[in-house]
């Protein structure tokens, strides 16, 4: 893979036409102008792979490897996977052949050789409890590793909800003191690609943007590429018409569920979740959670684990109303107390009442 990318692709049986089509699809997915597709294709195809392939270091912290699994699922033989292969992925524990000291050596050398130029991908949250001792690689805590390597990166990609927001490890009661990458690193451009796991094409889209323009795409205020996280699942959901008609599946196996009605009442978080699942779909466009009959969990939103339960409709209380019974009793007691006070007042008024008789009035006239 030393020649220009386009030759490498040809070697893999990918025609120029297919490649261009891929680039323009990627460009349109990211809401870039049509010319950007051509620019992308030119930038990527012409780049003599060995000379310009940017180095990528992928560090796994407190994670489940689901993000890596997600990427590899789309890997081969899809074209996304090949583009991904065209960057120089120098360190990725799950995928690399090296292990132990060899792997550590690769990491050290890669950082040395590409100072200020490599792309740092991180999946998993950073444990801060006990000085980060909850999660270590080669005897060093994730926290220390991040602080050591991040200053040398050109940019950081926080891959998956854990790296982007803290994710599952940060869920209450957060025993490891997990935080997101952006909580630790403040002086580097960071792009968050949340999702549990994130959509592979989002990852490759961001990479393609970085390769072509040498910069990260437009981000929303949560640091997510607007191109993919610009709209809610609900707005792009093919079941949306049923929501508007008020047709809801009540259980996972009733007639409504079989007819493909809206899953809002079964706890779908689509209305508050910004992601591209509804348009890009999963597994090469095969399907996505809502299409397969399960509501959206909201996995690309911060703290989605603690957002009141996966199977509770958004309009339902997140927690049981513990105060209600107590408040009702207190209210009734207050009412009874006030009514007794009112009665006492009335009684006093009655007692203080002086009856005036005709005789009294006559007497006063006599005076």
């Amino acid at each position: 893979m030393q020649g220009p990318l386009i030759d490498t692709l040809a070697l893999h049986g990918v025609s120029r036409r297919t490649f261009l089509k891929y680039c323009s699809t990627l460009a349109s997915l990211m809401a870039l102008p049509p010319a950007a597709g051509v620019a992308m294709a030119e930038a990527m195809a012409a780049a003599p792979a060995a000379a310009k392939r940017p180095s990528v270091i992928w560090l796994p912290f407190q994670e489940c490897t689901g993000c890596t699994e997600s990427i590899t699922r789309s890997h081969s033989p899809s074209i996304e996977g090949m583009i991904f292969d065209m960057v120089s992925l120098d360190y990725q524990e799950t995928l690399m052949a090296a292990a132990g000291h060899q792997a550590e050596e690769v990491l050290r050398k890669t950082v040395e050789a590409n100072k200020g130029q490599f792309l740092l991908i991180i999946d998993g949250s950073v444990a801060t409890g006990l000085d980060g001792a909850y999660s270590c690689i080669a005897g060093r805590s994730n926290l220390a590793l991040l602080k050591e390597i991040a200053p040398h990166a050109a940019a950081i990609v926080a891959m998956g909800s854990c790296a982007a927001y803290g994710g599952l490890p940060k869920a209450k009661p957060n025993p490891t003191g997990a935080v997101s990458v952006s909580d630790i690193v403040k002086d580097k451009p960071i792009v968050n690609i949340p999702g549990c796991p994130p959509i592979p094409v989002v990852m490759t889209g961001v990479l393609a943007h970085f390769l072509t323009f040498g910069s990260l795409p437009d981000l929303d205020k949560l640091g997510r590429p607007k191109a993919f996280y610009g709209e809610t699942i609900h707005d792009r959901c093919y079941r949306r018409p049923f929501y508007d008609q008020g047709k809801f599946a009540k259980t996972f196996d009733d007639e409504g569920a079989r007819n493909g009605w809206c899953l809002f009442e079964l706890g779908c978080k689509g209305p508050v979740t910004y992601n591209a699942c509804a348009t890009v779909k999963w597994n090469g466009g095969t399907s996505w959670p809502v299409e397969s009959g399960h509501g959206c969990l909201g996995c690309s939103e911060p703290n989605f684990w603690d957002a009141g339960g996966f199977y509770k409709a958004l309009s339902m209380p997140a927690n049981p109303l513990r105060m209600a019974a107590g408040a009702a009793v207190a209210g009734a007691a207050a009412g009874v107390a006030v009514s007794f006070a009112n009665r006492a007042k009335k009684k006093d008024a009655k007692a203080a009442h002086e009856t005036t008789t005709l005789a009294d009035l006559e007497k006063s006239e006599e005076r």
Binding site: L222, H234, P271, K312, S315
Partner: protein
């Protein structure tokens, strides 16, 4: 606190507090009001007092003769926003879902487009009623802070709800959270302001009708 945490708070802790204060206030005031009692009227009733009470409950929902012409905004605007509020609050699917989760009771919903239309009509009617209150010197003179305040806390839930559904102003998550928050403010305020008429209106009508019937006023 991010948007989703804000939403989770208003759906969780916030709702808990609001519903608690609402129940506390409603029970307190209902018990206080109905335990006050009235002195027994010892005179012989001229009409069947109870029947007169029931009649008044319904009669006062219908404008007296000629009044619609004299004060169209009060009557038509009043009808529009009260009926609109009832439809929006009780016949929108997510609202029914909430009531079901709290009480176990549920009923069929209306299509959300229709609810959308009703919400717009309700908002318009409320704005017109407010403009009328500001423009008519007598109404303005009679208005206190409570009147302006209760109008606001009633208007905001409808407005924020409609904005949330239409995806206007803020992202949906924030707007939905603001909507729920505004409803919680309404819940807390309701028992302690004139908005408590939602609970007392029919009771007091019955009482007035019964007292008048007892005294012999035609019902």
């Amino acid at each position: 606190m991010n948007e989703l945490q804000f939403l989770t708070w208003v759906r969780g802790t916030g709702l808990n507090i609001a519903v608690g204060l609402f129940l506390l206030g409603v029970l307190w005031r209902l018990i206080e009001i109905y335990s006050l009692g009235r002195k027994k009227d010892l005179s012989a009733p001229r009409h069947v007092a109870g029947a007169s009470g029931w009649n008044t409950v319904f009669r006062r929902s219908i404008p007296p003769e000629g009044m619609v012409k004299r004060s169209p905004v009060s009557y038509l605007g009043g009808y529009a926003f009260h009926i609109g509020l009832a439809i929006v609050v009780f016949l929108f699917a997510p609202h029914i879902k909430l009531i079901q989760s709290l009480t176990g009771l549920s009923w069929p919903a209306l299509p959300s487009q229709f609810i959308d239309l009703v919400a717009v009509v309700t908002l318009a009617a409320m704005v017109v009623v407010l403009a009328d209150r500001i423009n008519k010197p007598v109404k303005r003179f009679l208005s206190t802070f409570e009147d302006w305040f209760t109008w606001t806390v009633t208007f905001l839930p409808v407005l924020t709800g409609w904005l949330a559904v239409r995806h206007l102003l803020f992202p949906y998550t924030t707007m939905l959270a603001l909507h729920i928050l505004s409803v919680e403010i309404l819940l807390v305020v309701l028992p302690f302001t004139k908005l408590f008429h939602a609970f007392t209106v029919f009771g007091s009508r019955w009482f007035n009708g019964a007292v008048n019937g007892h005294k012999g006023v035609a019902v």
